[in-house]
């Protein structure tokens, strides 16, 4: 029993699955909020949860066990950067994706404010007209 527990909690097994599992869980919670909830603000919060889940998944794909950040201010890092640093490409990708995500969220929230001024409600099942 303790042998199985030690195998389960060893770093080779425990390493990436934490981050994969939590990112998939965050993605599924955001998808549930978009599909089921009727309030518009909660739908926008679910959209930002989906963005966060995808960002966490991309970062955890670039992580290598036991290596450090790709900022070259140490002598052994300057000499052999491939041996000691993680993959820097997903980090640059996600850095752009976070900023674009904030812009998308602000755009969606401005549309929510306009809809509330027009209809007087935030319930999405009461907004039925096609033209406004």
């Amino acid at each position: 029993m303790s042998e199985a527990l030690r195998t389960f909690f060893s770093p080779q097994i425990l390493g990436p699955e934490i981050f994969y599992g939590s990112s998939v869980g965050l993605f599924l919670i955001g998808l549930y909020m978009i599909l089921v909830k009727k309030n518009l603000v909660k739908i926008v919060i679910g959209l930002s949860f989906i963005e966060s889940g995808v960002n966490l998944f991309l970062i955890s794909l670039g992580y290598v066990w036991g290596k450090t950040a790709p900022i070259l201010n140490k002598p052994e890092l300057m000499k052999e950067p491939v041996k000691y640093a993680v993959d820097p490409v997903p980090q640059a990708l996600v850095l752009t994706a976070i900023v674009i995500g904030v812009a998308v969220t602000a755009m969606a929230l401005s549309i929510v404010i306009v809809l509330h001024d027009k209809y007087g409600t935030l319930d999405i099942s009461k907004i039925k007209e096609l033209k406004w």
């Binding site: 919670i29 309030n39 603000v41 290596k67 900023v99 509330h116």
Partner: protein, 84 residues
């Protein structure tokens, strides 16, 4: 040493899912905004543990500061409670 950091990451991932569950359950939109700020905060710690400090800086300043302020302005301009 690094195994300890992974146990910390496991605890933080569970706490992040608890915060997301609070967002799903509650009926008060202000409480939902506060709990989504908690989710962004814990996500910055996870980026830090994954050795991505620049992404963690961006997530901390934008996710915990700017996004929450925008949502609070929207809740101010519309309604606070979610009606059935």
């Amino acid at each position: 040493m690094s195994t300890l950091v992974l146990y910390l990451a496991l605890a933080m991932a569970i706490l992040m899912l608890v915060g997301a569950f609070v967002v799903v359950v509650t009926k008060d939109l202000l409480v939902a905004v506060i709990a989504s700020a908690v989710v962004d905060l814990v996500l910055a710690i996870l980026f830090y543990i994954l050795q991505a400090p620049d992404v963690a800086i961006t997530q901390a300043s934008i996710g915990a500061g700017l996004t929450t302020a925008i949502f609070v302005v929207v809740v101010r301009k519309t309604k606070r409670f979610e009606d059935d």
